[in-house]
Amino acid sequence: MKIICAVAGVAVKELYRRKEFYVLLIVTILICLVMGSVNVFNDDKVIRYLKELALLLIWISTLIIAITTTARQIPAEKEQRTLLPLLAKPLSRNQLIVGKFLGCWVACGLALICFYIFFGALAASREHAWPLLNYFQAALLHWFALGVVVALALFGSLVFAAPSSNSTICFVIVATILCLGRYLDAVALAQSEPIRSIFYAIYFAIPHLEIPFGMRNLIVHNWPLVEWKFIALDAIYLLAYIALFLAAACLVFRRKPVN
Protein backbone atom coordinates (compact mmCIF):
# COMPACT_ATOMS: atom_id res chain seq x y z
CA MET A 1 0.00 0.00 0.00
CA LYS A 2 2.85 2.34 0.85
CA ILE A 3 4.27 1.67 -2.60
CA ILE A 4 0.96 2.43 -4.29
CA CYS A 5 0.66 5.66 -2.32
CA ALA A 6 4.20 6.67 -3.29
CA VAL A 7 3.43 6.18 -6.99
CA ALA A 8 0.12 8.02 -6.58
CA GLY A 9 1.88 10.86 -4.78
CA VAL A 10 4.16 11.51 -7.73
CA ALA A 11 1.19 11.61 -10.12
CA VAL A 12 -0.60 14.12 -7.89
CA LYS A 13 2.54 16.23 -7.63
CA GLU A 14 2.79 16.24 -11.38
CA LEU A 15 -0.72 17.66 -11.70
CA TYR A 16 -0.09 20.66 -9.54
CA ARG A 17 3.40 21.34 -10.83
CA ARG A 18 2.06 21.46 -14.36
CA LYS A 19 0.04 24.48 -15.40
CA GLU A 20 -2.90 22.95 -17.27
CA PHE A 21 -5.06 22.75 -14.20
CA TYR A 22 -4.61 26.40 -13.29
CA VAL A 23 -5.19 27.50 -16.86
CA LEU A 24 -8.44 25.53 -17.08
CA LEU A 25 -9.63 26.79 -13.70
CA ILE A 26 -8.87 30.39 -14.60
CA VAL A 27 -10.45 30.09 -18.04
CA THR A 28 -13.60 28.61 -16.49
CA ILE A 29 -13.79 31.37 -13.91
CA LEU A 30 -13.17 34.09 -16.48
CA ILE A 31 -15.77 32.79 -18.91
CA CYS A 32 -18.30 32.56 -16.09
CA LEU A 33 -17.56 36.06 -14.90
CA VAL A 34 -17.85 37.45 -18.40
CA MET A 35 -21.14 35.65 -18.99
CA GLY A 36 -22.31 36.74 -15.57
CA SER A 37 -21.87 40.36 -16.53
CA VAL A 38 -24.40 40.08 -19.37
CA ASN A 39 -27.41 42.24 -18.66
CA VAL A 40 -30.73 40.41 -18.78
CA PHE A 41 -33.55 42.99 -18.52
CA ASN A 42 -31.78 44.64 -15.56
CA ASP A 43 -32.49 41.57 -13.44
CA ASP A 44 -29.49 40.75 -11.27
CA LYS A 45 -30.90 37.56 -9.80
CA VAL A 46 -30.87 35.45 -12.96
CA ILE A 47 -28.41 32.63 -12.29
CA ARG A 48 -29.43 29.28 -13.73
CA TYR A 49 -28.01 29.87 -17.20
CA LEU A 50 -24.71 30.67 -15.49
CA LYS A 51 -24.92 27.59 -13.30
CA GLU A 52 -25.52 25.45 -16.34
CA LEU A 53 -22.65 27.01 -18.23
CA ALA A 54 -20.33 26.67 -15.24
CA LEU A 55 -21.17 23.00 -14.73
CA LEU A 56 -20.68 22.27 -18.41
CA LEU A 57 -17.29 23.99 -18.38
CA ILE A 58 -16.37 22.13 -15.20
CA TRP A 59 -17.23 18.81 -16.81
CA ILE A 60 -15.23 19.64 -19.90
CA SER A 61 -12.26 20.90 -17.91
CA THR A 62 -12.16 17.93 -15.58
CA LEU A 63 -12.48 15.53 -18.49
CA ILE A 64 -9.56 17.27 -20.18
CA ILE A 65 -7.52 17.05 -16.99
CA ALA A 66 -8.43 13.42 -16.38
CA ILE A 67 -7.74 12.24 -19.90
CA THR A 68 -4.62 14.23 -20.67
CA THR A 69 -2.87 13.62 -17.35
CA THR A 70 -3.68 9.93 -17.36
CA ALA A 71 -2.96 9.31 -21.00
CA ARG A 72 0.57 10.61 -20.71
CA GLN A 73 1.51 8.90 -17.43
CA ILE A 74 2.95 5.64 -18.71
CA PRO A 75 3.96 6.81 -22.22
CA ALA A 76 5.92 9.67 -20.63
CA GLU A 77 7.61 7.26 -18.25
CA LYS A 78 8.55 5.16 -21.24
CA GLU A 79 9.68 8.03 -23.37
CA GLN A 80 11.70 9.74 -20.68
CA ARG A 81 12.96 6.33 -19.61
CA THR A 82 11.94 6.82 -16.01
CA LEU A 83 10.07 3.53 -16.20
CA LEU A 84 13.28 1.49 -16.09
CA PRO A 85 14.68 2.70 -12.76
CA LEU A 86 11.17 2.57 -11.37
CA LEU A 87 10.46 -1.01 -12.41
CA ALA A 88 13.93 -2.01 -11.21
CA LYS A 89 12.61 -1.34 -7.72
CA PRO A 90 10.71 -4.03 -5.84
CA LEU A 91 7.34 -3.00 -7.17
CA SER A 92 5.05 -5.15 -9.23
CA ARG A 93 3.52 -3.88 -12.42
CA ASN A 94 0.05 -4.18 -10.93
CA GLN A 95 1.10 -1.89 -8.11
CA LEU A 96 2.36 0.59 -10.68
CA ILE A 97 -0.97 0.56 -12.53
CA VAL A 98 -3.05 0.87 -9.39
CA GLY A 99 -0.75 3.59 -8.05
CA LYS A 100 -0.95 5.57 -11.28
CA PHE A 101 -4.72 5.18 -11.30
CA LEU A 102 -5.10 6.31 -7.70
CA GLY A 103 -2.77 9.24 -8.27
CA CYS A 104 -4.68 10.50 -11.28
CA TRP A 105 -8.01 9.87 -9.62
CA VAL A 106 -7.06 11.73 -6.46
CA ALA A 107 -5.58 14.53 -8.57
CA CYS A 108 -8.90 14.80 -10.42
CA GLY A 109 -10.68 14.80 -7.07
CA LEU A 110 -8.58 17.71 -5.84
CA ALA A 111 -9.22 19.62 -9.05
CA LEU A 112 -12.91 18.82 -8.69
CA ILE A 113 -13.01 20.26 -5.18
CA CYS A 114 -11.53 23.55 -6.46
CA PHE A 115 -14.01 23.67 -9.32
CA TYR A 116 -17.03 22.91 -7.14
CA ILE A 117 -16.02 25.47 -4.53
CA PHE A 118 -15.97 28.05 -7.30
CA PHE A 119 -19.34 26.77 -8.52
CA GLY A 120 -20.85 26.96 -5.05
CA ALA A 121 -19.60 30.50 -4.60
CA LEU A 122 -20.97 31.48 -8.01
CA ALA A 123 -24.40 30.07 -7.22
CA ALA A 124 -24.43 31.50 -3.70
CA SER A 125 -23.53 34.96 -4.99
CA ARG A 126 -27.04 35.27 -6.40
CA GLU A 127 -29.15 32.60 -4.74
CA HIS A 128 -27.78 33.11 -1.23
CA ALA A 129 -28.04 29.40 -0.51
CA TRP A 130 -25.55 26.57 -0.07
CA PRO A 131 -27.29 23.28 -0.89
CA LEU A 132 -24.11 21.46 0.11
CA LEU A 133 -25.59 17.98 0.11
CA ASN A 134 -26.87 18.40 -3.44
CA TYR A 135 -23.45 19.59 -4.57
CA PHE A 136 -21.84 16.73 -2.71
CA GLN A 137 -24.03 14.18 -4.48
CA ALA A 138 -23.25 15.61 -7.88
CA ALA A 139 -19.53 16.03 -7.19
CA LEU A 140 -19.26 12.51 -5.77
CA LEU A 141 -20.75 10.86 -8.82
CA HIS A 142 -18.77 13.24 -11.03
CA TRP A 143 -15.63 11.99 -9.31
CA PHE A 144 -16.56 8.35 -9.78
CA ALA A 145 -17.33 9.03 -13.43
CA LEU A 146 -13.88 10.61 -13.76
CA GLY A 147 -12.50 7.45 -12.15
CA VAL A 148 -13.94 5.43 -15.00
CA VAL A 149 -12.48 7.88 -17.49
CA VAL A 150 -9.07 7.72 -15.81
CA ALA A 151 -9.11 3.91 -15.79
CA LEU A 152 -10.15 3.90 -19.44
CA ALA A 153 -7.38 6.32 -20.40
CA LEU A 154 -4.85 4.30 -18.43
CA PHE A 155 -5.91 1.15 -20.22
CA GLY A 156 -5.79 3.00 -23.52
CA SER A 157 -2.29 4.30 -22.81
CA LEU A 158 -1.07 0.70 -22.66
CA VAL A 159 -2.83 -0.33 -25.85
CA PHE A 160 -2.14 2.67 -28.06
CA ALA A 161 1.45 3.77 -28.35
CA ALA A 162 0.90 7.48 -28.90
CA PRO A 163 -0.65 9.46 -26.04
CA SER A 164 -2.31 11.84 -28.47
CA SER A 165 -4.22 9.13 -30.30
CA ASN A 166 -5.18 7.60 -26.99
CA SER A 167 -6.48 10.95 -25.70
CA THR A 168 -8.46 11.54 -28.86
CA ILE A 169 -10.03 8.10 -28.76
CA CYS A 170 -10.89 8.50 -25.08
CA PHE A 171 -12.46 11.90 -25.73
CA VAL A 172 -14.57 10.56 -28.56
CA ILE A 173 -15.74 7.57 -26.54
CA VAL A 174 -16.56 9.63 -23.46
CA ALA A 175 -18.29 12.38 -25.43
CA THR A 176 -20.38 9.82 -27.29
CA ILE A 177 -21.41 8.15 -24.06
CA LEU A 178 -22.30 11.48 -22.47
CA CYS A 179 -24.40 12.61 -25.42
CA LEU A 180 -25.93 9.38 -26.68
CA GLY A 181 -25.51 6.78 -23.94
CA ARG A 182 -28.98 7.22 -22.56
CA TYR A 183 -30.72 6.83 -25.90
CA LEU A 184 -28.70 4.07 -27.49
CA ASP A 185 -31.41 1.55 -26.68
CA ALA A 186 -34.06 3.79 -28.23
CA VAL A 187 -31.85 4.16 -31.31
CA ALA A 188 -31.41 0.39 -31.39
CA LEU A 189 -35.17 -0.12 -31.48
CA ALA A 190 -35.36 1.86 -34.70
CA GLN A 191 -32.79 -0.35 -36.45
CA SER A 192 -33.21 -3.59 -38.33
CA GLU A 193 -31.98 -6.83 -36.86
CA PRO A 194 -28.24 -7.37 -37.04
CA ILE A 195 -27.54 -3.71 -36.27
CA ARG A 196 -30.11 -3.66 -33.49
CA SER A 197 -28.36 -6.42 -31.56
CA ILE A 198 -25.03 -4.68 -31.96
CA PHE A 199 -26.47 -1.43 -30.62
CA TYR A 200 -28.03 -3.26 -27.69
CA ALA A 201 -24.75 -4.99 -26.92
CA ILE A 202 -22.97 -1.65 -26.94
CA TYR A 203 -25.71 -0.12 -24.81
CA PHE A 204 -25.34 -2.72 -22.11
CA ALA A 205 -21.54 -2.85 -22.30
CA ILE A 206 -20.65 0.84 -21.98
CA PRO A 207 -20.30 2.56 -18.62
CA HIS A 208 -23.26 4.91 -18.39
CA LEU A 209 -21.39 8.07 -17.50
CA GLU A 210 -24.32 10.16 -18.64
CA ILE A 211 -26.07 9.38 -15.37
CA PRO A 212 -23.71 11.55 -13.27
CA PHE A 213 -23.50 13.99 -16.19
CA GLY A 214 -27.29 14.37 -16.20
CA MET A 215 -27.29 15.31 -12.52
CA ARG A 216 -26.20 18.77 -13.64
CA ASN A 217 -29.83 19.49 -14.42
CA LEU A 218 -30.91 18.67 -10.87
CA ILE A 219 -28.41 21.14 -9.45
CA VAL A 220 -29.09 23.85 -11.99
CA HIS A 221 -32.84 23.75 -11.37
CA ASN A 222 -32.72 23.24 -7.59
CA TRP A 223 -34.33 19.82 -7.56
CA PRO A 224 -34.47 17.98 -4.23
CA LEU A 225 -31.82 15.41 -3.27
CA VAL A 226 -31.60 12.09 -5.05
CA GLU A 227 -32.18 9.18 -2.69
CA TRP A 228 -28.85 8.16 -1.19
CA LYS A 229 -29.35 4.52 -2.01
CA PHE A 230 -29.42 5.37 -5.70
CA ILE A 231 -26.25 7.42 -5.32
CA ALA A 232 -24.58 4.47 -3.60
CA LEU A 233 -25.79 2.07 -6.29
CA ASP A 234 -24.48 4.27 -9.07
CA ALA A 235 -21.14 4.66 -7.29
CA ILE A 236 -20.87 0.88 -7.04
CA TYR A 237 -21.85 0.54 -10.68
CA LEU A 238 -19.08 2.95 -11.71
CA LEU A 239 -16.59 1.28 -9.37
CA ALA A 240 -17.24 -2.00 -11.14
CA TYR A 241 -16.20 -0.41 -14.43
CA ILE A 242 -13.11 1.09 -12.80
CA ALA A 243 -12.13 -2.37 -11.56
CA LEU A 244 -12.82 -3.84 -14.98
CA PHE A 245 -10.64 -1.35 -16.86
CA LEU A 246 -7.87 -1.62 -14.27
CA ALA A 247 -7.89 -5.39 -14.48
CA ALA A 248 -7.68 -5.13 -18.27
CA ALA A 249 -4.80 -2.66 -17.96
CA CYS A 250 -2.92 -4.96 -15.57
CA LEU A 251 -3.46 -7.88 -17.91
CA VAL A 252 -2.10 -5.97 -20.90
CA PHE A 253 0.85 -4.58 -18.98
CA ARG A 254 1.78 -7.81 -17.20
CA ARG A 255 3.95 -9.35 -19.90
CA LYS A 256 4.65 -6.29 -21.99
CA PRO A 257 8.37 -5.75 -22.64
CA VAL A 258 9.45 -2.31 -21.47
CA ASN A 259 12.88 -1.83 -23.00
Binding site: A6, G9, V10, R81, L84, P85, L87, A88, K89
Partner: protein
Protein backbone atom coordinates in the same frame (compact mmCIF):
# COMPACT_ATOMS: atom_id res chain seq x y z
CA UNK B 1 31.04 -18.45 -1.79
CA UNK B 2 27.37 -17.94 -2.62
CA UNK B 3 26.07 -17.03 -6.02
CA UNK B 4 24.15 -13.78 -6.07
CA UNK B 5 23.33 -13.49 -9.76
CA UNK B 6 22.72 -16.50 -11.93
CA UNK B 7 21.35 -17.14 -15.41
CA UNK B 8 20.63 -20.59 -16.77
CA UNK B 9 20.52 -21.22 -20.51
CA UNK B 10 19.00 -17.77 -21.00
CA UNK B 11 17.48 -17.27 -24.41
CA UNK B 12 15.80 -14.12 -25.69
CA UNK B 13 14.25 -13.73 -29.12
CA UNK B 14 12.84 -10.51 -30.53
CA UNK B 15 10.21 -10.66 -33.17
CA UNK B 16 10.76 -7.80 -35.58
CA UNK B 17 9.39 -6.76 -38.90
CA UNK B 18 11.77 -6.04 -41.69
CA UNK B 19 10.27 -4.74 -44.92
CA UNK B 20 6.97 -6.26 -43.80
CA UNK B 21 8.52 -9.68 -43.27
CA UNK B 22 8.44 -11.12 -39.76
CA UNK B 23 11.90 -12.12 -38.66
CA UNK B 24 13.18 -13.43 -35.37
CA UNK B 25 16.29 -11.90 -33.88
CA UNK B 26 18.07 -14.02 -31.31
CA UNK B 27 19.53 -11.55 -28.81
CA UNK B 28 20.65 -14.09 -26.20
CA UNK B 29 21.41 -17.69 -26.93
CA UNK B 30 21.84 -20.04 -23.95
CA UNK B 31 23.66 -17.64 -21.69
CA UNK B 32 25.02 -19.08 -18.42
CA UNK B 33 26.39 -16.56 -15.95
CA UNK B 34 27.17 -16.74 -12.25
CA UNK B 35 28.32 -13.78 -10.16
CA UNK B 36 29.61 -14.46 -6.66
CA UNK B 37 29.04 -12.32 -3.60
CA UNK B 38 31.55 -9.53 -3.10
CA UNK B 39 33.08 -9.40 -6.56
CA UNK B 40 33.16 -6.69 -9.16
CA UNK B 41 32.09 -8.37 -12.37
CA UNK B 42 32.69 -6.77 -15.73
CA UNK B 43 30.32 -7.64 -18.55
CA UNK B 44 31.93 -7.01 -21.91
CA UNK B 45 30.88 -7.33 -25.48
CA UNK B 46 30.70 -5.33 -28.70
CA UNK B 47 27.70 -3.17 -29.53
CA UNK B 48 24.60 -5.28 -29.93
CA UNK B 49 26.09 -8.28 -28.18
CA UNK B 50 23.21 -8.55 -25.75
CA UNK B 51 24.52 -6.89 -22.58
CA UNK B 52 21.56 -4.60 -22.05
CA UNK B 53 19.19 -7.41 -22.97
CA UNK B 54 20.70 -9.59 -20.23
CA UNK B 55 20.19 -6.83 -17.70
CA UNK B 56 16.63 -6.28 -18.90
CA UNK B 57 15.89 -9.91 -18.18
CA UNK B 58 17.55 -9.73 -14.77
CA UNK B 59 15.35 -6.77 -13.84
CA UNK B 60 12.16 -8.30 -15.19
CA UNK B 61 11.69 -5.72 -17.98
CA UNK B 62 11.38 -8.45 -20.59
CA UNK B 63 10.39 -12.08 -20.34
CA UNK B 64 13.02 -14.58 -21.50
CA UNK B 65 11.98 -16.88 -24.32
CA UNK B 66 13.75 -19.74 -22.58
CA UNK B 67 15.89 -20.43 -19.54
CA UNK B 68 15.73 -18.70 -16.20
CA UNK B 69 17.46 -15.99 -14.16
CA UNK B 70 17.83 -15.62 -10.42
CA UNK B 71 18.89 -12.81 -8.09
CA UNK B 72 19.75 -13.89 -4.55
CA UNK B 73 18.32 -17.25 -5.49
CA UNK B 74 14.87 -15.76 -6.25
CA UNK B 75 13.33 -15.97 -9.70
CA UNK B 76 13.52 -12.49 -11.28
CA UNK B 77 9.84 -12.57 -12.13
CA UNK B 78 9.04 -11.90 -8.48
CA UNK B 79 9.27 -8.22 -7.49
CA UNK B 80 10.90 -9.10 -4.17
CA UNK B 81 14.01 -10.27 -6.06
CA UNK B 82 14.69 -6.57 -6.68
CA UNK B 83 14.57 -5.54 -3.01
CA UNK B 84 18.33 -5.59 -2.48
CA UNK B 85 19.60 -4.40 -5.84
CA UNK B 86 20.44 -1.03 -7.25
CA UNK B 87 20.17 -0.39 -10.99
CA UNK B 88 21.52 2.32 -13.24
CA UNK B 89 20.08 2.20 -16.76
CA UNK B 90 22.04 2.89 -19.90
CA UNK B 91 20.36 6.18 -20.74
CA UNK B 92 17.90 7.82 -18.43
CA UNK B 93 16.27 10.99 -17.48
CA UNK B 94 14.34 11.48 -14.30
CA UNK B 95 10.99 13.08 -13.55
CA UNK B 96 11.41 16.61 -14.80
CA UNK B 97 8.90 18.09 -12.40
CA UNK B 98 10.65 16.81 -9.27
CA UNK B 99 13.92 17.77 -7.63
CA UNK B 100 16.69 15.36 -6.67
CA UNK B 101 15.58 15.08 -3.09
CA UNK B 102 11.98 14.27 -4.00
CA UNK B 103 12.99 11.60 -6.50
CA UNK B 104 15.14 9.89 -3.91
CA UNK B 105 12.40 10.15 -1.31
CA UNK B 106 9.95 8.60 -3.78
CA UNK B 107 12.25 5.67 -4.50
CA UNK B 108 12.95 5.23 -0.79
CA UNK B 109 9.22 4.85 -0.22
CA UNK B 110 9.06 2.07 -2.78
CA UNK B 111 11.75 0.25 -0.84
CA UNK B 112 9.61 0.81 2.26
CA UNK B 113 12.50 2.52 4.04
CA UNK B 114 11.23 4.28 7.19
CA UNK B 115 11.15 8.05 6.79
CA UNK B 116 13.84 8.99 9.30
CA UNK B 117 16.25 6.46 7.87
CA UNK B 118 15.37 7.53 4.34
CA UNK B 119 16.33 11.12 5.06
CA UNK B 120 19.71 9.99 6.38
CA UNK B 121 20.20 7.81 3.34
CA UNK B 122 19.28 10.68 1.00
CA UNK B 123 21.83 12.95 2.67
CA UNK B 124 24.44 10.24 2.41
CA UNK B 125 24.00 9.39 -1.27
CA UNK B 126 23.70 13.02 -2.32
CA UNK B 127 26.96 13.71 -0.60
CA UNK B 128 28.50 10.66 -2.24
CA UNK B 129 27.61 11.84 -5.75
CA UNK B 130 28.28 15.50 -4.86
CA UNK B 131 24.83 16.86 -5.62
CA UNK B 132 24.06 18.46 -2.26
CA UNK B 133 24.22 21.98 -3.65
CA UNK B 134 21.53 21.21 -6.24
CA UNK B 135 19.27 18.95 -4.22
CA UNK B 136 16.32 21.31 -4.32
CA UNK B 137 16.56 22.17 -8.00
CA UNK B 138 14.21 20.59 -10.55
CA UNK B 139 15.91 17.83 -12.53
CA UNK B 140 15.12 19.56 -15.80
CA UNK B 141 17.73 22.18 -14.91
CA UNK B 142 20.48 19.55 -14.52
CA UNK B 143 23.30 18.87 -16.96
CA UNK B 144 23.82 15.39 -18.37
CA UNK B 145 26.60 14.64 -15.91
CA UNK B 146 24.44 15.71 -13.01
CA UNK B 147 21.59 13.53 -14.26
CA UNK B 148 23.94 10.56 -14.48
CA UNK B 149 24.92 11.20 -10.88
CA UNK B 150 21.25 11.35 -9.83
CA UNK B 151 21.00 7.95 -11.49
CA UNK B 152 23.84 6.64 -9.40
CA UNK B 153 22.31 8.15 -6.25
CA UNK B 154 18.96 6.46 -6.87
CA UNK B 155 20.72 3.15 -7.48
CA UNK B 156 22.32 3.43 -4.05
CA UNK B 157 19.31 4.68 -2.10
CA UNK B 158 18.41 1.29 -0.63
CA UNK B 159 21.97 0.42 0.39
CA UNK B 160 21.93 -2.46 -2.12
CA UNK B 161 23.95 -5.65 -1.88
CA UNK B 162 24.09 -5.98 -5.65
CA UNK B 163 24.53 -3.16 -8.13
CA UNK B 164 23.65 -3.61 -11.77
CA UNK B 165 25.15 -0.75 -13.78
CA UNK B 166 24.72 -0.44 -17.53
CA UNK B 167 27.70 1.52 -18.87
CA UNK B 168 27.95 3.77 -15.82
CA UNK B 169 30.75 5.90 -17.20
CA UNK B 170 29.48 6.53 -20.71
CA UNK B 171 29.03 10.18 -21.52
CA UNK B 172 31.05 11.41 -18.56
CA UNK B 173 34.18 13.53 -18.63
CA UNK B 174 37.46 12.04 -17.30
CA UNK B 175 36.89 13.55 -13.86
CA UNK B 176 33.40 12.09 -13.73
CA UNK B 177 34.68 8.67 -14.75
CA UNK B 178 37.29 8.76 -12.05
CA UNK B 179 34.63 9.56 -9.49
CA UNK B 180 32.34 6.75 -10.62
CA UNK B 181 35.25 4.35 -10.54
CA UNK B 182 36.17 5.38 -7.04
CA UNK B 183 32.55 4.89 -5.93
CA UNK B 184 32.58 1.36 -7.37
CA UNK B 185 35.87 0.73 -5.62
CA UNK B 186 34.41 1.95 -2.38
CA UNK B 187 31.36 -0.30 -2.69
CA UNK B 188 33.61 -3.25 -3.35
CA UNK B 189 35.56 -2.45 -0.20
CA UNK B 190 32.27 -2.45 1.71
CA UNK B 191 31.77 -6.01 0.48
CA UNK B 192 29.05 -5.34 -2.11
CA UNK B 193 28.70 -7.02 -5.45
CA UNK B 194 28.83 -4.96 -8.62
CA UNK B 195 27.76 -6.23 -12.03
CA UNK B 196 28.44 -3.73 -14.76
CA UNK B 197 28.82 -3.50 -18.50
CA UNK B 198 31.45 -1.41 -20.18
CA UNK B 199 33.40 -0.77 -23.35
CA UNK B 200 36.34 0.78 -21.49
CA UNK B 201 39.10 -1.83 -21.30
CA UNK B 202 41.30 0.29 -19.06
CA UNK B 203 38.50 0.76 -16.60
CA UNK B 204 37.68 -2.93 -16.59
CA UNK B 205 41.31 -3.88 -16.07
CA UNK B 206 41.70 -1.68 -13.02
CA UNK B 207 38.55 -2.46 -11.08
CA UNK B 208 37.18 -5.87 -12.10
CA UNK B 209 37.79 -9.11 -10.24
CA UNK B 210 36.29 -11.20 -13.00
CA UNK B 211 34.94 -10.50 -16.46
CA UNK B 212 32.70 -12.19 -19.00
CA UNK B 213 32.83 -11.51 -22.71
CA UNK B 214 29.80 -12.16 -24.91
CA UNK B 215 29.24 -11.82 -28.59
CA UNK B 216 26.06 -12.34 -30.57
CA UNK B 217 24.29 -13.39 -27.39
CA UNK B 218 26.70 -16.20 -26.60
CA UNK B 219 29.19 -16.38 -23.77
CA UNK B 220 32.72 -16.43 -25.23
CA UNK B 221 34.97 -16.23 -22.20
CA UNK B 222 34.78 -15.87 -18.45
CA UNK B 223 37.49 -15.51 -15.82
CA UNK B 224 39.75 -13.03 -14.08
CA UNK B 225 41.33 -10.27 -16.14
CA UNK B 226 44.80 -11.82 -15.86
CA UNK B 227 43.57 -15.30 -16.83
CA UNK B 228 41.89 -14.06 -19.97
CA UNK B 229 44.63 -11.76 -21.09
CA UNK B 230 47.31 -14.36 -20.47
CA UNK B 231 45.38 -17.02 -22.42
CA UNK B 232 45.57 -14.75 -25.42
CA UNK B 233 49.09 -13.70 -24.62
CA UNK B 234 48.59 -9.99 -24.60
CA UNK B 235 46.71 -7.15 -22.94
CA UNK B 236 42.94 -7.23 -22.39
CA UNK B 237 42.11 -5.19 -25.46
CA UNK B 238 43.94 -7.57 -27.74
CA UNK B 239 42.34 -10.54 -25.99
CA UNK B 240 38.89 -8.99 -26.39
CA UNK B 241 39.30 -8.46 -30.11
CA UNK B 242 40.65 -11.98 -30.42
CA UNK B 243 37.75 -13.51 -28.59
CA UNK B 244 35.06 -11.77 -30.59
CA UNK B 245 36.84 -12.86 -33.74
CA UNK B 246 37.86 -9.46 -35.02
CA UNK B 247 40.72 -9.47 -37.57
CA UNK B 248 42.60 -6.15 -37.68
CA UNK B 249 44.07 -7.16 -41.06
CA UNK B 250 40.59 -7.28 -42.55
CA UNK B 251 40.17 -3.61 -41.88
CA UNK B 252 43.55 -2.72 -43.25
Amino acid sequence: MNTILKTEKLRVEFKTRQLGKATTKVALNGLDLAVQAGEVFGFLGPNGAGKTTTMNVLLGFIQPTGGAAYLFGIDVRQPIARQRIGYLPELTYYYKFLNAEEILRFYAKIFKIPNAEAEKRIDFVLKLVELQHARKRLIKTYSKGMQQRVGLAQALINNPDLLILDEPTSGLDPVGRMKVRSIIQRLKNEGRTVFFSSHEMGEVETICDRIAIINNGELKAVGSVSEISSQHGANLEKAFLDIIGFQPEAVA
